[in-house]
Structures are given as structure tokens and as C-alpha cells.
């Protein structure tokens, strides 16, 4: 056996093997599976779960559950409530029925507003008056100087009156001005008035195209 070479030795299984060994093993495996017992299987949760799952759920639940802040409810004693109601009723009665002084004050207040508007019409009269004065000067008509003086005197008086009547009603001012105008117009002859009227027409015409 000096020339023994392991590499040249035949690879052989010398152990006894039962017949149909592999069929038998396969059969046993299959039988084992067929005997599969669910109760022996490990109870496992195999689904994926997001991180911080329960923290998120708890936060959301507590947000829903926390009592919402309610507006404070005031409770009032019935006696105070009755007193407040009475005060309201009397206050409203006093305000809406009012006394005579109140009644007068309100129209006066409105009158003072109207006065400003009337002042504009007054201004218009003044303008007309000044126009008429200029016409009077231009035509060198026989207007009495005393009349002029009286006009200026009237004018000054009128101015004074206007200042005084600023807080009064408008009607007296209107009447006064009309009286003055009538007085003034009486001083003109018919021909002068017609000439003034023609000038006035021309002014309107010019006004339109200005």
C-alpha cells in the first residue's frame, strides 16, 4: 500500500440505506404539512405601523376631547334686571317724547343748517344788487344819492342783520331782502329794467359758453 493515492479511490457510500428513502422523507414532510396546526403557529402582527402612531392618536383624541372654552355667562339678580328694564323704559320714553325745549331746539338746529343754504341765496341777491349798482353807475341815471345812501345803509344794516340772524330762522332774512329788493327796483324806470333784463340774457348766454 506504499503507492496508495487517495485521489484515485472510488467515492462510495458504504452505509446501508433503507429502500425508498427519499420518497419516505418527502411523504413525511407532506404529512407534516397536512397535519398543520394553526394553534401552533406564532401569533404575529405582520402589518407595517407608522412611527409615533399612538402618540399621534393620543394627541388627536385629546384635542377633540378637551373642553372648548365657553363665553362667560353672567347671572343677574332679578331685582337688578327689573331695575335695568325700568331705567331703559323711562330713558326711552324721555328720549322720544322729550320736552318742548327739545322740540324747539331740533328745528332751530335744522334752521341753522338751512340758513347756510339761504345765505347762498342771500349771496345771490347781493351779487344781483352789486350788478344793479354797477348798472346804476354806468347809466348815470337820476338815482337819488339819498337812495344810494339808503341802499348802503340798508346794505350795512342788512349785513348786521345777517350776522345777528345767523342763529335765527331764515324766513325773516328772506322777507327783509325781498323788501329791500322791491324798494330798490322801484327806483328804476321801466326802460332801465328792460335794459337790465337784456344784459341778464346776454350774461346767461355767455355763461353757457364759458
Amino acid at each position: 500500500m506504499k503507492d496508495f493515492d487517495l485521489e484515485k479511490l472510488e467515492r462510495k457510500n458504504i452505509y446501508k440505506v433503507p429502500e425508498h428513502l427519499f420518497e419516505s422523507i418527502q411523504g413525511k414532510v407532506m404529512d407534516g404539512l397536512n397535519d398543520f396546526d394553526l394553534e401552533k403557529l406564532e401569533r404575529k402582527n405582520i402589518y407595517t405601523v407608522p412611527e409615533n402612531l399612538f402618540e399621534n392618536i393620543q394627541e388627536r383624541v385629546l384635542n377633540e376631547v378637551k373642553p372648548k372654552k365657553q363665553a362667560p355667562i353672567f347671572t343677574m339678580n332679578w331685582a337688578y334686571a327689573a331695575a335695568a328694564s325700568l331705567a331703559l323704559i323711562f330713558g326711552a320714553t324721555f328720549l322720544f317724547t322729550g320736552d318742548d325745549a327739545d322740540k324747539q331746539e331740533i328745528p332751530a338746529h335744522f334752521a341753522s343748517n338751512k340758513q347756510e343754504r339761504k345765505t347762498e341765496s342771500e349771496t345771490a341777491y347781493e351779487t344781483l344788487q352789486s350788478d344793479l349798482t354797477s348798472v346804476e353807475n354806468t347809466h348815470q341815471t337820476a338815482v337819488n344819492k339819498n337812495d344810494k345812501k339808503s341802499f348802503y345803509a340798508n346794505d350795512i344794516a342788512n349785513e348786521k342783520t345777517r350776522n345777528e340772524t345767523k342763529i335765527q330762522t331764515v324766513k325773516p332774512v328772506k322777507k327783509q331782502t325781498e323788501a329791500q329788493m322791491n324798494e330798490y327796483l322801484d327806483a328804476f324806470s321801466n326802460s332801465e329794467i328792460s335794459e337790465l333784463a337784456s344784459n341778464s340774457t346776454q350774461d346767461v348766454y355767455l355763461d353757457i359758453y364759458n
Binding site: 394553526l38 403557529l41 402589518y47
Partner: protein, 183 residues
């Protein structure tokens, strides 16, 4: 657990400690209820919403809880109802020509961990193939190990019916796995 339940109930019944009670309730039952809901619904986001709704309903209706039943039984009942309502909504959303079992199996595949064992996936698919009542009974008994008497209070079925249902459910699941397991 019994003592802890008593503490939770006491906290929940007092308006001053109610918030603390809700916290204690969630700490005690969130995991069990979540997995119960998750196995019914499968979808993770919807399961999360359903668990949230379960706790809110429990808080809002705590005055209806009677001490003669166990707290977890009462919570399981709310969770089961919420989960079944969610499943019904999902069914309505489903395409009319889609096979419900196939839809649920797809949902299982989409929600499963990558390294999950094949046999575990098969088990979930087998559960989803069960009729609704058998599914509920099987899950509460197999996973949560609830006594039949407690399950009876949750799903309003007699103990005898529950046992029968569980037996059939288990048989169907084993057959399903034997048929579908790849050798």
C-alpha cells in the same frame, strides 16, 4: 388589570379628572384595540382614524358604561362597530366588478412588512376570505384570547354559536393554507 380598570373608570367619571382618565384609558388599551381594528380593516391610515374615533366615542358615551361589564369588553364593542362601519364604507367605495376577496388580499400585500413569512401572509389572506362573523370571532379568540363569554357580549352571539363559528373558521383557514402554501 382589574384594579387599573377601576382607576380609569373613577378618573373618567369625575369631570375634573376626565382628561387624565382618557389618557390612562388610551395607554391601557390602545395597542390591543389598534391591532383588533387593523386586522379587520387592514389599511393603516383607516385603522388609525378608526381607533381615534373609538376613543372619542368612548369618552363621549362614558356615562352609558355600566360597571357590570368589563371596560375592555365595552371598548372592544365600540371598536368592532367602528371597524365594521369602516369596512362597509370601503365596500361601497369598491368597484362593482372587483372581487372583494381579491381586493382584501391586495390590501394585505400592500400593508405587509417586507420580511413577513409566507405562512403569516397566507394566514391573513385566509382570515380575509372568511365571512364577517367568523372573521370577528376567530380574530378575538385566536389573537386576543378572549373568553367566549366576553366575545358573546361584544358581538351579541351565543357562546354555542361562537364556538361553532370558531371551529369552522379554523377549519377553513387550515384548508386554505394547505392549498396555497408553496412547497
Amino acid at each position: 388589570m382589574k384594579i387599573k380598570d377601576a382607576e380609569i373608570i373613577s378618573l373618567m367619571q369625575d369631570p375634573r379628572t376626565q382628561e387624565k382618565g382618557v389618557r390612562a384609558l388610551m395607554d391601557a388599551y390602545q395597542s390591543r384595540l389598534y391591532w383588533h381594528i387593523r386586522r379587520i380593516i387592514v389599511d393603516g391610515d383607516l385603522a388609525q382614524d378608526t381607533l381615534q374615533e373609538t376613543f372619542i366615542k368612548a369618552y363621549q358615551n362614558f356615562h352609558q358604561f355600566k360597571n357590570d361589564s368589563q371596560l375592555y369588553t365595552w371598548l372592544y364593542r365600540i371598536a368592532t362597530n367602528e371597524a365594521l362601519q369602516q369596512v362597509n364604507k370601503m365596500k361601497k367605495m369598491q368597484k362593482s366588478d372587483e372581487d372583494p376577496e381579491y381586493y382584501m388580499q391586495n390590501l394585505v400585500a400592500d400593508n405587509t412588512e417586507g420580511d413577513a413569512e409566507e405562512i403569516q401572509i397566507l394566514l391573513q389572506n385566509a382570515i380575509q376570505s372568511l365571512p364577517e362573523k367568523q372573521k370577528l370571532v376567530f380574530m378575538m379568540r385566536y389573537y386576543d384570547d378572549l373568553p367566549y363569554e366576553e366575545i358573546s357580549n361584544i358581538v351579541d352571539m351565543s357562546v354555542g354559536t361562537l364556538k361553532t363559528n370558531y371551529h369552522y373558521a379554523k377549519q377553513k383557514i387550515e384548508e386554505y393554507i394547505k392549498e396555497n402554501y408553496e412547497r
